[in-house]
Structures are given as structure tokens and as C-alpha cells.
Symmetry: C2
Subunit: 82 residues, 2 copies
């Protein structure tokens, strides 16, 4: 297991309710891929959403997001944190 | 005060020690601008570092990072989080 930060673009105007719903949709199916989504932060102005997860691979993160209906192209392993 | 996520690029090969030192350098002077750096995550492979802060403005985040020796161009307000 490792930590990943993924970045969604094009989510301009996202609301707190939409962010919470997307996060719940991820968490509802994340176990299928052995992923756990911990946190997410959104900038409705630029349409950027950052998700922090613990997962076996970047592919697993992508699979969960895709199944939940919000595919992501940019997933970075972040092995270091403070 | 608001939450911000800033993104550094070009930090390929960053070590845990370097990340911790950079975070400490920020925290040592952050009060001058009313900023608080909460967390940071790094991907040594792609050279990307994400910093989460609480600050009065994106400009204040930029000032602290620049003074501490690691200027950043990309700072997003992230008013929404889960």
C-alpha cells in the first residue's frame, strides 16, 4: 500500500454537496480495488480537485474513480509526507 | 483565512529529509504572513510536491515559499474539502 495524490480538472463550479457525493461514491466501491480515499480538496473556480488515497497502485486509484463516474488521468504516488 | 493547495514541480529526487527541512523552513517564517502550512506530500519520481495551507491569500502562500527558498507558481484556493 502506498499514498497517492490524484488531480481532476474541468470540475468548475463544483459544490460542497457534489464533492461529498463524489467522495461517497468512491468510498462505496473502493474496497473492490483495495483502495481507501482519505481526503479531497476542491477549487470550484479553476475546477481542480485533489484526492489523497492509500492504494496498492495508481491503476487501482484510476479504476475506482472511473467506476464511480469521475475518471482521472493524473495520479502521482506520494511516498513522502510531512 | 482559507485553505490553499500549492504545487511545486521540478523537485525530482527529493528525499524525506529535504521535504521535512523545506516544511520546517516554511513553518519558521509563516507567521510573518499569517500562513500555516499543515501538510505536504512529495513524489520524488515526477518531482511534484503538494502543500496544504491555511492562509489569508494565495499571495501570502507564495511569499512564504519564496522567502524560504522554494518559490511556487501554482497556488489554488481549495474552499471545499471532505
Amino acid at each position: 500500500m502506498a499514498k497517492f495524490m490524484d488531480v481532476h480538472h474541468g470540475m468548475k463550479g463544483i459544490t460542497a454537496e457534489q464533492l461529498a457525493a463524489a467522495h461517497k461514491a468512491d468510498q462505496a466501491i473502493e474496497r473492490e480495488e483495495g483502495v481507501h480515499f482519505e481526503r479531497a480538496w476542491a477549487d470550484p473556480k479553476s475546477g481542480t480537485v485533489y484526492c489523497l488515497s492509500e492504494a496498492p497502485s495508481a491503476e487501482a486509484v484510476k479504476k475506482v474513480h472511473a467506476k464511480a463516474g469521475h475518471p482521472v488521468a493524473e495520479v502521482h504516488a506520494v511516498p513522502l509526507s510531512v
